[in-house]
Amino acid sequence: MTRLTGGVIDHETALRFTFNGKTYSGRKGDTLASALLANGVQLVGRSFKYHRPRGVLSAGSEEPNALVTLRGGAREEPNTRATVTELFDGLVARSQNHVGPLHRDVMAVNDLLSPLFASGFYYKTFMWPRAFWEKLYEPLIRHAAGLGRLSGEADPDAYDKGFLHCDLLVIGGGAAGLAAALAAGRAGVKVILADEDFQFGGRLLAETHQLDGMPATSWVTAVMAELSGLENVRLMPRTTVFGAYDHGIYGAVERVSDHVSAADGEVRQTLWRITAKRSVLAAGATERHIPFPNNDRPGIMLAGAMRAYANRWAASPTRHPSDPVIIFTNNDDGHRTATDLLAKGVPVTAVVDPRDDAPTFGAYELITGVVDDTKGRLGLTSVRVTQNGQSRWMPCGALGVSGGWNPNVHLSSHHRSKPVWDEALLAFVPGKDLPNGMIVAGAAVGQGTTAKALRSGMEAAVSSLAALGISAERIDLPDADDTAAAQTAFWHVSRKGRAWVDFQNDVTVKDIVLAHQENMRPVEHLKRWTTLGMATDQGKTSNISALAVMAELTGKSLPETGTTIFRPPYTGVTLSVLGGGDTGKHFRPTRYTPTHQWSASQGATFVEVGAWLRAQYFVQPGETHWRQSVDREVLAVRRGVGLCDVTTLGKIDVQGPDAAEFLNRIYCNMMGTLAVGRVRYGLMLREDGHAYDDGTCARLSENHFVVTTTTANAALVYRNMEFARQCLWPDLNVSLISTTDAWAQIAVAGPNSRTLLSRVVDGFDLSNEVFPFMACAELTVCGGLRARLFRISFSGELAYEIAVPARYGNALMERLAQVGADLGATPYGTEALGVMRIEKGHAAGSELNGQTTAQMLSLGRMVSEKKDSIGAVMSRREGLAQDKRRLVGFRPVDKSEAIVAGSHLFTQGETRNTTTDQGWITSAAYSPHVGSSIAIGFLEEGDARMGEVVIAANPLEGREVRVEVVSPHFVDPEGGRLRD
């Protein structure tokens, strides 16, 4: 146990947790990493490629080493950074990526073979024999690769999604962020302050310097108290702003209940889309290490992290309290760790600093030199220090390394703004063309001292508000006692042996040298060749060091060598939360037809049709196969009368003095000449001349039409009609509105349909003379209920469609079935509907698939030459005009055989390949009327091949059928029935 005193943890509240099955005790306010360190645990994981033993490197979200699998069962959460995992009672964690126990990983053999695994090696081998790649080499690689493991079970937790709007979004709650939030908060504007940490304060919680002579933490406490009292300020701890998107929109994830042991039903995380007029990026900075041989042992840690663990979490980095600590730094900031640790009673034996003019700040030995090797496979035991050529091994339980600090510019470059090199800071800072409205403040822009951070944060807020025309008071800032840390450009220790640059992906200085040698010098080539910066930390701790090494090799300056921009997300985001709360059955909304309840009561089986759920067929007692139900329904329509809910067809209300002219331009055929009280079939083309939708158009009065569209295209047709109205012909006086949902529409089809309807209409004359085929009328039914009646037929039988206000649809359907019982009134679903339209050769989705033309549908004559309409001109292009494929019918020569849609058509005796392909079957069904399978489809010069026998080939399912080319009208080709 190496727990120290003080810090901002609650020493009184102990939390029990287990790591690799062993139970430990931590404190409230701990992270998993700080708790493990406080328990003397240094070895926490293995590296990706060489399976090197690894310990905690950092104290933040940049952690490349301390990745664990959290929780268990379906809640198992791989690759979780122990350094940002808030400890809770009962937490269970396991280390990853090892075979056998963590301290005896058999995969560590890779480390011995490391020379074979130099960067890019796999591009150069595994090529022979060819077959071995998928069979042997790749499976081996795949199983070796990867870090954590998914449970394989569905994520059981609840997630939420939401939208926030504010004047100022402050990203990061450290010194700069708090000053910004306070200044803006006092100005009364709407502020959101978000921090990925569970405690606001940032580095102020990790440092010992004072504000106004008091510990910085007490200033933080006071500020938080004031902010939480402000109505206009929303405090969002445990919230990572992961991406900057266009026009001030930010993606953020709030970890609502990740810090408690899973509570069912409670939201785990919430995805917030934040729209901010202005933003202040105060994300702080990330410390970089210094590559030197064997710099990756457990116990070697960033100096700033070491300081944070001691000051904030009262945890010593060593396994035993008496183990000596050494610091290796190229800057003054590293020395601060030595003094802070000494103050906590941790034995710091030396600070190794390559600078000749390195100062001393406390009672430790200052060695002007470098650390160039280490010992301690599972935990650091000693380091080799070299001073003017003289090397000595020094016992060491933990080594703190500081190579300077990199501003966290990530979000500032999400719009591809290139960071620029600041020679004074020896770091990249945000460049120009930042995301609109963003100001970067504090350590994120190199203003690293507390005093500068506070000021730049406040100033950022003030100028942000000024840009909104709001003048905010400057606030009094506390006096900070820290001073800028001097540093020198010292990038790595070049000695024999492997010096790690990217810890997780095991990229060493040698790999960079090799990349240079093989001309993989542009930074993107370097990264892709060596996998540098591709690990879960996305190079937060490695990119700059790597650039520096490459710069040294090419003799170019570091900025000349290149920079790297970052892309969202800033840190890993749970896929579940991006997917939102509603999944499974609620992935997309479901539309129910007005007669759904009744259909269900009649034993309907339902089917998804776009967003709709429609009755597919109605199984009656004794029916064991769906075909029996469908055949029965079809015959019922052909012999008696059937009822089908056709509400799903789109309905668009078109009104105005120019409605007729407008429709003339929308439909390829004449519509303006339609008489009042009549309906006409209409075909719509896209402007590129292809057919895309069809339906009926009814003229209710001189200036009032109702257009029906196919179910699939309802929204599209409406959109296109609005485009024509607003953008193409604004001079036409017409108005449009959708009424699809307002009316429940029921098809009443079959020889008995007139008789049936006569029993519900209120004294309306349905006789052929008064209400012939393609007539329409507004009337009342069932004692005064307003309704619309259309005499149209999809089935080819005498048929009507009747529409009533949607709330009455269910009752009307019930009534029709009831009063039509003696007439054989039978509900039918989409299957029977499909069979009957195929029997009549009506085109539907499979024929109107956007690739076909009016001509192919044998509707070429409909494209009027007398007028212009959408698509008319382009439909006359050579390629369309000369397309000889035609929609025809097919019957199997052997009645017992079934034709299947998707079969391709070939001339008998012809070899079968792409060039001899003659067409395809679009729709097929068993026709109880014909007594065999029938089909329709497109065939080259089909209209001229009636009676010819062709092959419908379906090798995909090993079938082929000889079929006769026939008219697509299998039922009543003369159309007598629907006119009777």
């Binding site: 060819r130 795949r142 996998t531 896929l575 991006l578 997917g579 059955k585 590129d688 998707g902 995909l956």
Partner: protein
């Protein structure tokens, strides 16, 4: 220098001292017989086949950034030949056959991995459409297999079969499809072309074209004028920009497509799976990351970055289809600029300017086409005749009405 397992072992023992640069960084010559504009996958493959198969010399590839920095460097690495239309399928199957021998061809392991692709079926109409497609694939000499729900469950048991908004009713499988290591493809062709004398000139941006009397004489670049016998443009994403230098307007819009990768995970997903009722497709890389994507953002863009709604849309699809990936994390997202053509299919053709050839309009399907596109473009440049599998990719098909519209959505690029 030849790559092999023995070489890797030898170098390991010799401290990697013997490895040579993968390619040179030559100074541009004043004149080339063939100038390929664009050092992406298609441009590099074109140069490779021009030199290797068509035995041409004095070839240069001009790349404005670093080679492979275009969409070859940012895609979801899928290779397949599961197209429907006769204008497309034979071409993509030709590409697939080239993929199958790519490593031996270039002596560079591009990790072509034929782990299969499954297009999921959710409705009867979709099954009919996939049956038509699968048969079209077979007739073009490709492989295809219609999977029953049970066969599907055995192959990919982790899909949401029991609580799906859109039930999964089967799938169309192409076993020979899969993935390839995208950068490795660019590097393999680049190294192969360089070994055959092709000058690959990086950081050399084409800023203008010198055209006289209807013939192209050469290109102005950021590194000076370069005379050329023939100029082949393969700059998908920037096609309109570059061709406007020759005064041409194209049936192309530039759109952004986002793609995503998760943190590294032990293997869970065998091949490529595409959702048929939402915008989501996924595979798993050899490093363990789930590589996935969905629909384009939908508005014209050259910004190489997208927006949040599409991220959410893609993951909604992902979670609906395979809820077991939910606790993995998104590691990185990126955006590429797509040449979205007016019928969703590419163009490989001569132009109205003598000696100027164009290759583009790949929409988001360019990666899988890389070998065939390079081969066909090289064939056109070398012989002035289109390759037999690319005869439909004419520039005048839009004016004449011979469209290759797989989706049937017409002249609206963002719908393809």
């Amino acid at each position: 220098m030849r790559y092999s397992g023995f070489r890797v072992i030898k170098e390991a023992l010799l401290g990697q001292k013997g490895w040579r640069p993968l390619w040179r960084d030559p100074e541009p010559q004043p004149r080339y017989d063939y100038v390929i504009v664009g050092g992406g996958g298609h441009g590099l493959a074109t140069a490779y086949y021009l030199a290797k198969t068509f035995q041409k010399s004095r070839i240069a590839v001009l790349e404005k950034g670093w080679l492979g920095s275009g969409n070859i460097g940012r895609n979801t690495t899928i290779i397949r030949s599961n197209y429907l239309l006769p204008g497309n399928e034979p071409f993509y199957e030709f590409s697939m056959k080239l993929w199958e021998n790519l490593e031996q061809e270039t002596n560079f392991n591009s990790m072509v991995s034929q782990r299969g692709i499954i297009n999921l079926i959710h409705t009867d109409a979709q099954r009919d459409a996939y049956r038509r497609r699968g048969n079209a694939m077979l007739f073009a000499g490709a492989d295809a297999q219609l999977l029953s729900p049970n066969e599907l469950r055995e192959m990919v048991p982790f899909l949401n079969y029991d609580n799906a908004r859109f039930p999964i009713k089967g799938g169309l499988l192409q076993r020979r499809a899969g993935t390839a290591r995208h950068d490795g493809v660019a590097w393999g062709y680049a190294r192969g072309a360089d070994m055959r004398g092709v000058d690959i000139i990086q950081n050399c941006e084409v800023t203008g074209m010198r055209i006289e009397g209807g013939k192209v004489l050469g290109v102005e670049t950021s590194r000076g004028y370069i005379a050329a016998g023939k100029v082949g443009v393969a700059v998908a994403g920037s096609s309109s920009r570059v061709m406007s230098m020759a005064g041409m307007r194209l049936p192309i819009e530039s759109h952004v497509l986002q793609a995503f990768v998760s943190e590294g995970l032990k293997p869970v997903i065998p091949g490529v799976i595409t959702f048929g009722a939402g915008h989501f497709y996924v595979s798993q890389s050899d490093k363990g990351g789930l590589v996935f994507g969905g629909d384009i953002d939908g508005y014209n863009s050259y910004a190489q970055r997208g927006n949040l709604p599409v991220v959410e849309d893609v993951l909604e699809g992902g979670m609906a289809l395979m809820p077991m990936i939910g606790r993995a994390r998104l590691l990185r997202s990126w955006g590429g600029v797509m040449d979205m053509s007016m019928d969703g299919s590419p163009i490989i053709d001569r132009t109205s300017v003598d000696g100027l050839y164009f290759n583009g309009g790949w929409c988001y399907g360019g990666f899988k086409a890389t070998p065939a596109s390079g081969f066909a473009f090289a064939h056109l440049l070398a012989t002035d005749r289109p390759h037999e599998t690319a005869t439909a990719y004419r520039l005048d098909r839009f004016a004449r009405g011979y469209l290759i519209d797989e989706k049937g959505v017409g002249a609206q690029p963002n719908l393809h």
